[in-house]
């Protein structure tokens, strides 16, 4: 056993690398030999080189607080997280099953609402979701797909079982960091990547492009696709730009687009050019001031009408936020049963609904043991970590729940799995999750791996970048390199 990991303690958690102190899981063997043989200063020199490259390349996100809006690099830990083939195959099958059910559900509630008529899910719960858009009922969307790009959050508990924490069917971010992390690893550990059968992720750009092109009206042979960004001051601007570049399509702001005769055009140096597919990274609320928030200057007045008429496609579609509602999330296993007649491959985290009076009473009695979340918040906001909260905080949250029980759900505190992370001059365990990216076009494709997010603060369970989180590269390790599936699809 090499020196860098000699003193590493997995403690009582499920550790991704060590089944117990000094005993590594077999799929980490080759990497531990290679990484472990470095001295702390060699390791930290590689880490610094990667950080400097990220800064130079502007692989950054914007942090607010001072007048300039500082750009920071998203903290990156060099040691990759490895997922062995068998584990990944289960995750992938589970994700495909889930997105299939979610799209069937969205298509259903925006059309016939059979699942409600059949009483498979409670009607008032679904229809009261604040992101449900009744005005979109009956509108036909291309191929009946609502969520084209999904960034599901997965966690593992103390036993190492995978759970779905959130589905993120609106504008999931982070794919660019997944791609840049892999590039950084190619620079930092070229030998390892050559030696191990790690499935590549760099086809994401072309997969995304194909997924989007699939949405264009059938009559258009060579559709014009654009990425719609709120602009350079948005914290995810780097990602918008990066993905546009990977796909080779223009990145536009609302002011670049204009509607004529319910068609969308972009203003170019050669006049107006029609746009067929918009990968929008602007939330529903800001997308069209004629329909949603009137004060939005980021959107495109009239784009929703163009969408209704089928003249332009939007990815993701309008109203997918209903599936992101954490109370509706609790119903996904029922959706899988109802639409696919299957049991979920990836389970939900057990969830108590505030809207159910019995469960609400249970939540209020057990605030010190539960994580309570507002149903429409994300990014680690609007939640109560019961065991870590003060008495006063719990009492305050309890009042909020009583006032609006529909708005809250509660889950047991999961002891998220941990992974060694380099701190100063040695490795320590930190909690992680996994966000794989699922694309839904002519078929469902899952990028092998995804973004592993790390709660860098000792003991913290919150991995979000806005709350001191970082990331790792994620390697899906194949048993037999000759057996590895091709990542790109043959040209149509």
């Amino acid at each position: 056993m090499s020196s860098l990991f000699n003193d590493y303690q997995p403690e009582s958690f499920f550790d991704e690398v060590f089944s117990k102190a000094g005993k590594a899981r077999p799929h980490y063997g080759a990497m531990l030999d290679s990484v472990g043989s470095l001295t702390p200063s060699e390791y930290s020199a590689r880490q610094k080189a990667v950080d400097a490259a990220f800064l130079r390349q502007g692989v950054t996100f914007t942090v607010y607080g001072d007048d300039q809006g500082t750009e920071r690099i998203f903290p990156f830990d060099l040691m990759p997280r490895i997922i062995p083939q068998r584990e990944w195959e289960t995750v992938e099958a589970g994700l495909i099953q889930r997105i299939t059910a979610l799209n069937l559900f969205l298509n259903d509630i925006y059309h016939g609402q059979k699942i409600i008529t059949d009483k498979a899910v409670p009607s008032e719960l679904v229809l009261s979701a604040s992101h449900y858009r009744p005005e979109f009922r009956g509108i036909k969307v291309p191929h009946g797909i609502y969520i084209h790009i999904c960034g599901t959050d997965l966690v593992r508990d103390g036993k190492g079982d995978y759970y779905v924490l959130e589905d993120n069917g609106r504008c999931p971010s982070g794919a660019s960091y997944m791609l840049e992390n892999r590039n950084a690893m190619k620079r930092a550990f070229p030998g390892l990547l050559q030696q191990l059968p790690v499935r590549p992720v760099d086809a994401y750009g072309s997969m995304l492009r194909e997924t989007l092109a699939h949405l264009a009206p059938d009559s258009v042979l060579d559709p014009t696709i654009v990425v719609l960004t709120p602009g350079i001051y948005n914290s995810a601007y780097f990602e918008h730009c990066y993905l546009a570049k990977q796909m080779g399509v223009p990145i536009v702001e609302g002011r670049d687009l204009i509607i004529r005769n319910d068609r969308v055009f972009m203003r170019t140096t050669k006049g107006l050019e029609q746009v067929h597919v918009i990968y929008r990274r602007i939330d529903d609320d800001f997308l069209d001031p004629q329909v949603f928030r009137k004060d939005s200057l980021l959107g495109v007045p009239g784009v929703i009408n163009a969408y209704r008429k089928g003249n332009v496609a939007l990815a993701n579609s309008i109203g997918t936020g209903v599936a992101d509602d954490k109370a509706v999330y609790a119903l996904v296993p029922k959706m899988i049963k109802y639409y696919l007649d299957q049991d979920p491959i990836l389970p939900n985290v057990p969830t108590h609904l505030g809207v159910d009076p019995k469960e609400c009473a249970y939540i209020l009695d057990n605030l010190d043991k539960l994580v309570v979340k507002a149903v429409n918040e994300s990014g680690g906001y609007g939640m109560l970590m019961g065991p870590h909260a003060s008495k006063k905080e719990r009492a305050e949250f309890g009042e909020r729940i009583k006032k609006n029980p529909r708005n809250y759900i509660a889950q047991p505190v999961l002891q998220l799995s941990r992974h060694p992370v380099f701190v100063d001059d040695h490795f320590e365990g930190r909690h992680i999750d996994l966000r794989p990216y699922v694309l839904c076009g002519d078929r469902v494709r899952v990028v092998p791996g995804g973004l592993t997010r790390v709660a860098l603060k000792k003991g913290s369970l919150v991995v979000n970048s806005s709350q001191g989180g970082g990331s790792k590269d994620t390697w899906v390790l194949w048993d037999d390199p000759l057996d590895m599936p091709a990542e790109t699809t043959p040209a149509a």
Binding site: G58, P250, R255, R267, T269, K270
Partner: protein, 350 residues
Amino acid sequence: MLSRVADSIYWMARYVERAENLSRLLLSTQDLLLDAGAEGVDEAQFWQPLLATTGDEESYSKLHKKIKGKDVTEFLALRADNPNSMLNSIRAARENARTVRDQISDEIWESLNSLRLFVESAEGKTMHRTQSAAFYERVLRGSYQFQGIADSTTPRGEIWHFLRLGTCLERADKMSRLLDTCSGLSLELPPHAQARPLRWAALLRSCSAWHAFQAHHRRLDPSRIIAYLLLDETFPRSIACCVAEAESALKSLCADAGLKGMPLPLRHVGRLRADLAYTTVEEVLATGLHDYIDDLQSRLNQIGEAIFHTFVQHADLSLLAEEAPVESIASGAYHAQADEDLQVQQQQQQ
């Protein structure tokens, strides 16, 4: 290409060129001071023309009562509250690059981002304080690097032409201002042969023309220097050369866009090119250098405006009139002090 993108690329190139010109100007003024010897020299005489060139006399005087080398260099190089400072030009170039990052090569982006990281760094500030010449040379190299990379990585399409336009028009504008600072100087050479016409030599150095000029003309004759920097058709920083280059870029752009007849920017630039080709330096001096340059500058501005109307704002907006009033279609480029509202609004969305 998106109109907004064209606008940003044009301004990105202009701001890089602006920072480069300012570096060279600061560098040559420092050298000139050293050549002039320290004794009995009125520092202000040397620094005042710099403020005139950049058009910053008024904003400088709000901050400092006296013209001192230390204050002027700091004001022009690193002051964040001077929108025309080198720091802000590089920031603006980099912000424009950021808005068109998907259109330009990664190498262009990285070179500008590195330059901006350098000028904003503590290392950069210390270098400016202790060895300012090294600082200016670093900025110069940054600009050369940008131009070299742009030249070798940009496909010869619209992006390239807008880059060239930005560079040439900024270069012509700065050259005209530079010449204007000499318009009050005597055209007579000092009586004895050893005397060096320092100001005129510095003028050549401040636009990298020293060697090129020497190769053609042995004597530093002021009217020949003016002719060289204004009318020469071979020196790449002369105004005639810049205008000819701008015309060639505009011809390609107009042809690409399928514009028929003689579009406005092409008419303006062509007329100016012809005038410069057929004008003699004697005629310029008869008009008066200052007046001639005044007119030249307004014609350069006219070209810039015509480019904006034709390619960014679209002169022919009749199609759009009902939905989008012309005034609401703003420039897409980032400028040092123009973005606060937008920034606030976009942050609100967080």
